[in-house]
């Protein structure tokens, strides 16, 4: 019943939008020179990273908050009573554990590599965290890591730690430098790397959590 309205409206909107976009003049402002001019004092080498972790680091701070929040919300939604034991590898399954044993350390190396490359390439902590999370997921799927239900104290601190570190650095800089997340140019690189390292761990845990907390009930929903 909604279909005859939605689809023509959507198409019409798309057509108008595309025509308008094609017609669009160059923007009044160009931020690229600004980004480039301040790159030297930003503490990182890659412009996208500079935007993410320095110029617009506040966005990134809130975004990590969103991610942590989503994890907390998922925990709040999931049932608190433990269900029956989660999927773990059976004894006949030898290939998968082997894969996990080999791949997980490799993924750790890749994660650290991505983190260290982050200052000169986009991403850093995010890709690194994603790869760590993938490693955790892999370990879980290959039966080497039990599923997560309700996180224990240390896991909870691990999940929130990176974000707290980020907030803490922001707060200290606010007190010392007078502005939220205003890095002194000399120490920007170190501070950003510190934040990113904390984030990598927490993001890894959070992203893994998004999967592992979700995967515990019987769940073949697709």
């Amino acid at each position: 019943m909604k279909r005859p309205v939605v689809i023509p409206a959507a198409l019409l909107f798309a057509v108008v939008l595309i025509l308008a976009m094609v017609d669009l003049a160059p923007p009044a402002l160009d931020l690229r020179p600004l980004v480039a001019a301040n790159l030297a004092s930003s503490g990182v080498a890659h412009p996208v990273t500079a935007v993410l972790l320095n110029y617009r680091a506040y966005d990134t701070l809130l975004e990590i908050g969103v991610l942590l929040l989503a994890l907390v919300a998922i925990l709040a939604v999931s049932e608190s009573v433990p269900t029956t034991s989660s999927t773990s590898a059976t004894s006949s399954d030898l290939l998968l554990p082997m894969l996990g044993r080999i791949a997980a350390p490799v993924m750790v190396v890749v994660a650290v590599y991505l983190l260290s490359a982050g200052t000169s390439a986009p991403g850093g902590a995010f890709q690194a965290g994603a790869v760590l999370a993938a490693a955790a997921v892999l370990l879980h799927l290959t039966g080497l890591l039990p599923g997560w239900r309700q996180p224990g104290v240390s896991l909870r601190w691990g999940l929130a730690g990176g974000f707290l570190l980020f907030v803490g650095v922001g707060a200290i800089l606010l007190l010392v430098e007078g502005d939220l997340l205003r890095y002194p140019p000399d120490h920007a690189g170190v501070l950003i790397f510190l934040i990113e390292s904390g984030l990598t761990l927490s993001l890894g845990l959070i992203l893994a959590g998004l999967f592992l907390f979700l995967s515990h009930d019987k769940g073949d929903v697709g």
Partner: protein, 160 residues
């Protein structure tokens, strides 16, 4: 520290360092982070699989890889030609056969690898019985599977 552990650390450390070297494309300034990475990975690796449990034979692996790459190309070319000619060239069908491998892990490996080999896709592995979908029933599939089995058995250190 026992020598087995020692050798394992050295072997794995070397492999991981090589990996790091590839990843950083040989940059020297990255080695500080590299030590952290290799250390962490080594620790994880030793926790996940104690030394001695490595059983994959290097020679077997090499032989398998050669066979695998060559047949991948064959399989790709065959499918590409079939795709160009359309469905009138197809003579698909299913095939059930018995695997000889003793342990389940290599059997699963065979089932997976067959997806990349010419003409076959594994449909269902049921114990030792394997059902395959073949794109051309006229091909000598059974013989090829046997050959693959032998290679994989060697790699896993098993006798067929």
């Amino acid at each position: 520290m026992n020598p087995v552990m020692m050798i394992a650390i050295l072997r794995r450390g070397a492999l991981l360092s090589f990996l790091w070297w590839i990843l950083t494309e040989g940059r020297r300034d990255a080695w500080v982070a590299g030590f952290v990475a290799i250390g962490a990975a080594l620790w994880l690796s030793l926790r996940l699989c104690a030394p001695r449990s490595t059983q994959i034979s290097v020679g077997g692996l090499g032989a398998f890889l050669g066979y695998f790459i060559w047949n991948s190309v064959r399989g790709g070319v065959q499918v590409a030609l079939l795709a160009l000619r359309g469905r009138r060239a197809l003579h698909p069908g299913t095939l059930e056969l018995q695997l000889n491998l003793a342990s389940p892990a290599p059997r699963i490996f065979v089932a997976n690898v067959l997806a990349l080999m010419p003409g076959t896709v594994s449909v269902r592995l049921n114990g030792k019985r394997l059902r395959l979908h073949v794109i051309d029933e006229r091909m000598p599939i059974v013989a090829e599977v046997k050959a693959l089995e032998v290679l994989i058995a060697r790699m896993f250190g098993e006798r067929v």
